[in-house]
Amino acid sequence: MNDTMPTDDPLGRELSLYDARKQEWSRYYLNQFVVIGGNQVEGFHPDYESAFKAGIQAFGLKQQFLIKQICVTEPVYVVY
């Protein structure tokens, strides 16, 4: 399966940035959660909860931001 997300995604710009930096980040921040709003990388966090809190603090309610776990292979969650 292709790792890149659909281009009509409202977070397409943030995903492009993530895709461009993923290889580099996976060396230092593997399994951490990166927060990206526009072209700004807010930081890296140990879990989704702390990433979300940091995202709201940095970007507020009005600006969208991406939370993405840095993984070598994108996780697929199964619902039986």
Binding site: P6, L66, V76
Partner: protein, 150 residues
């Protein structure tokens, strides 16, 4: 505080429907605080049926709910359901259980993925269950939940 909750139904109902909880899905406390400071209001949520689903790796909600309540989109996730893999939107939300003495979750990532049952709006997945101990007693029709968080 010992957060032990017993969901009591009949053995037949438990077999037919599975363990069901009423949940309130809304915005996180951080969003509500920010919204209040901006004089902004989110649509008010209401109680929905949620199935405790040990077969779901993550918590799932009906996509319509995520749109209706204007939950915060934070990125796509890949889900395999019924043998089919696709990408679905992930949202940040708070989940609470107002009619039960059970501690809620302030920030949970939930995935908006169509559900097979029209009466079920949410599957409580193993991302939440990792904080609980569950005892399923099919003979008595009771499911006991113990919140393990300190």
């Amino acid at each position: 505080m010992d957060q032990r909750v017993v969901l009591k139904t009949s053995p037949d109902e438990l077999q037919q429907q599975g363990p069901i909880l009423k949940v309130l899905i809304g915005h996180t406390p951080d969003e509500l605080e920010e919204a209040q400071s901006l004089g902004f209001e989110f649509p008010e949520s209401r109680l929905f049926n949620a199935l405790i689903d040990t077969g779901a790796a993550v918590t799932i909600i009906n996509p319509q709910l995520a749109e209706t309540y204007k939950l915060r989109y934070t990125g796509m996730e890949q889900i395999t359901a019924v043998g089919h893999t696709d990408k679905y939107r992930g949202y940040a939300a708070a989940i609470s259980f107002p009619d039960r003495n059970l501690r809620g979750f302030d920030i949970v990532r939930i995935i908006a993925c169509p559900l097979a049952s029209p009466v079920m709006s949410c599957l409580i997945g193993r991302d939440i269950l990792r904080h609980w101990e569950l005892i399923y007693n099919g003979e008595s029709g009771a499911v006991t939940i113990l919140d393990l968080r300190r």
